[in-house]
Symmetry: C2
Subunit: 421 residues, 2 copies
């Protein structure tokens, strides 16, 4: 290894070691201390508005000079209202119920040992994100609320804004008596530091990428640290023969068109060949200005339907486009989903409860819905308060991940001097 | 890539694809069907005794010819009683309660959506093990009981025995109507196949290594698939000033000496400088024929104590040897454990409940004990029925991992046509 590759690993190693020490202090902190630290961080963010706006102006100017497109500049931009919203969100996380210390289960063994599993923080969490500076505060507050230390690595285009937000939060956290090292920001914009984070197995316990598909793909590809994320949301709605036609139309249009750019949007419509109102269903989508790409059967329903090819079934459009095909009942629908789906959110619309329960049991996705729009796939809609992300992985946490997903458990064994025979 | 490296990946890829199809069938199988399949597998194992013994004799002869040491030959050897025990163990797993389908929690949202989290199998599990052929049946039965498909890769020295046990089990499983592909054995002894399993991210959901430290280390080093394992059990017992001296002696001797080769054995004794009976504690270990390697303070207690050096604090002896040192109270003990421990099982012996609860809260190990011998760190002793392993990782499952640890959950959302505004 040469010095160039050694430096990022040393820096990340040192940050992770300081983070680990901070977790030991957090393990001794009360729930109220963690909530109070976040309230102090929110107050500090409000007090630091001028400094944050100055830093953001510098980022915006550099971004414009570097030719960032308007959408990216908009994501980067902070103003008084946006900083206020960031501080509000930190306060909302402070108000969430704490799950650290919660007893999952408890048993007494015949020898008198009392065993319990108790929720504890995961440890050191790495967040890798792009241009939105509000992620700095959102992610930091969720991690700290659940007793974790966090290492934040934001996009280089937002470096000054992130530094200002981070400095303000740390000021509040430190003033309230919790360790500054609980929330650390990677201080320089070297891309090699992302690689060092991804390889820091044993030092960083989990990485959460927040951003576009290319970021998530790189993180999933390179990481030796476990990753909590989803790459695609290729979500299906299966309209069973027994579906209420009006409900099918309403839910399908909402699932696709409410917001087309969210990961919970429907991308493929599967229509039971025995569903009698396929034509009006497809027309409803077309009438809502959705492009429909169909198989031969669907094309025969309406001349506006374009031809789907094999790649359409595997595409997350994130646009007002839907792929649609006929299937022969439940098994065929489940086969299609198993072949092309991304295990994010899949739904059945059916009045037949037996078929619906079969679908709920057999569909292997993080979220499986019956008679509901897939657009509900969201931590807030699930009542989790705030989410750090949605996971399509199978281990540890699945679907929307909030505070509980940032914890693990340990076994406590309380005895009276028992020895094993 | 040349053909030599392509072949193992293709073989593992095909096996994993068949396993994934089997999981879809298992997802539709009832609890009773899975239990019945295991009972049939046990009966089939008993019926196949002559074939299994012939296969094992061939392995033993080849092993002796290849110069395997006596201990390895003993691990490899099967006889009538051992096959009977293997079949019994399969029946015991059949009798365990099923956790698939169990509702973890359920909430009704203000919009009427009913959300529940329900336990489901993890998916496709890879087991990589060494010379004990009973692991073939043990691991297969735990995986199948929890609705998972399994790919087994045993040691080359046990290949014929594993094939015979696998064939017998699959015969019973198939006869009972479940898919043969739910339990697959890697059919050839090429070491490259282990590498292909470790790289099969997305195809295999989790790898469990069962065997010695070098196997676990290789798997943890190379795997791109998540691994459930522990490498070391550097377990501490901290004797607090308030400890009952008699209990301290009894528990310490049991924790170290009951069986020295198990991962739950104590390896380091931390004695509070304010504990008044340190000398009799150390003498009790020495009198039990335990070698004690101590710091200067411990050496001063008894002339039989050897000098510990820095490496002793980081060593899992798995022999009748213990390292021992004085610490200044709880914080110092926790610092030592954080520096040298392996997050497996650590214990405090104390009459002061406040200190003990502080230790339970702040000690960051999978299992933390109060007034009990660390030798209880075992799935059977925890009442879990059977364990697939003990995990010192922080994600997904921690400590002894049994059927529940081989499951994950999914979100079910039941609605009445809700759309998101």
């Amino acid at each position: 290894m040469n010095d160039l590759t050694q430096t990022p690993e040393m820096l990340i190693g040192m940050m992770a070691a300081r983070a680990r020490k901070a977790t030991a202090i957090l393990a001794g902190a009360t729930d109220e201390a963690k909530a109070a630290a976040l309230r102090a961080a929110a107050a500090s963010l409000r007090a630091a508005k001028p400094a944050i706006l100055r830093a953001n102006a510098a980022d915006m100017e550099r971004g414009a000079g570097n030719g960032l497109i308007a959408a990216m500049l908009d994501r980067l931009k902070l103003d008084d209202g946006r900083i206020e919203a960031v501080a509000d969100a930190v306060e909302q996380v402070a108000a969430l119920p704490d799950c650290v210390g919660r007893v999952i289960d408890e048993t007494r063994r015949p020898n008198g040992l009392v065993l319990s599993r108790v929720r504890v923080p995961l440890g050191v969490i790495g967040i890798i994100y792009e241009s939105r500076p509000n992620v700095t505060a959102d992610a930091a507050s969720l991690c700290l609320r659940s007793g974790n230390a966090v290492i934040l690595r934001g996009g280089s285009e937002a470096l000054e804004s992130n530094r200002a937000i981070h400095a303000a939060m740390v000021e509040g956290i430190s003033a309230s008596g919790l360790p500054a090292d609980a929330v650390q920001l990677v201080p320089i914009a070297d891309r090699a530091l992302v690689g060092a984070m991804l390889r820091a197995a044993g030092l960083i316990d989990i990485i959460v990428p927040r951003g576009g598909k290319s970021l998530v793909a790189r993180v999933q590809d390179e990481a030796r640290v476990p990753v909590l994320a989803h790459l695609d949301g290729i979500n299906h709605s299966f309209i069973h023969a027994s579906a209420d036609p009006e409900m099918a139309r309403t839910v399908a249009v909402n699932a696709k068109m409410r917001r087309t750019g969210v990961c919970g949007a429907m991308e493929t419509l599967l229509i039971d060949r025995a569903f009698p109102e396929a034509a009006s269903l497809v027309s409803a989508l077309l009438d809502a200005r959705c492009e429909v790409r169909g198989d031969a059967g669907v094309r025969a329903l309406d001349p506006r339907v374009e031809a789907a090819d094999e790649s359409d079934w595997a595409t997350e459009y994130l646009e007002p486009i839907v792929s649609a095909r006929f299937v022969d009942g439940l098994d065929d629908a489940l086969d299609h989903i198993a072949t092309y789906g991304s295990h994010h959110t899949d739904a059945i619309i059916a009045e037949d409860a037996g078929v619906a329960e079969d679908f709920l049991r057999r569909c292997d996705s993080a979220i499986v819905m019956w008679n509901a729009s897939s657009q509900f796939a969201d931590g807030g809609e699930f009542g989790l308060g705030a989410e750090i992300g949605i996971s399509t992985g199978r281990l540890h946490a699945r679907g929307p991940v909030a505070l509980e997903g940032l914890t693990t458990y340990k076994w406590l064994v309380r005895g009276t001097g028992q020895v094993r025979p």
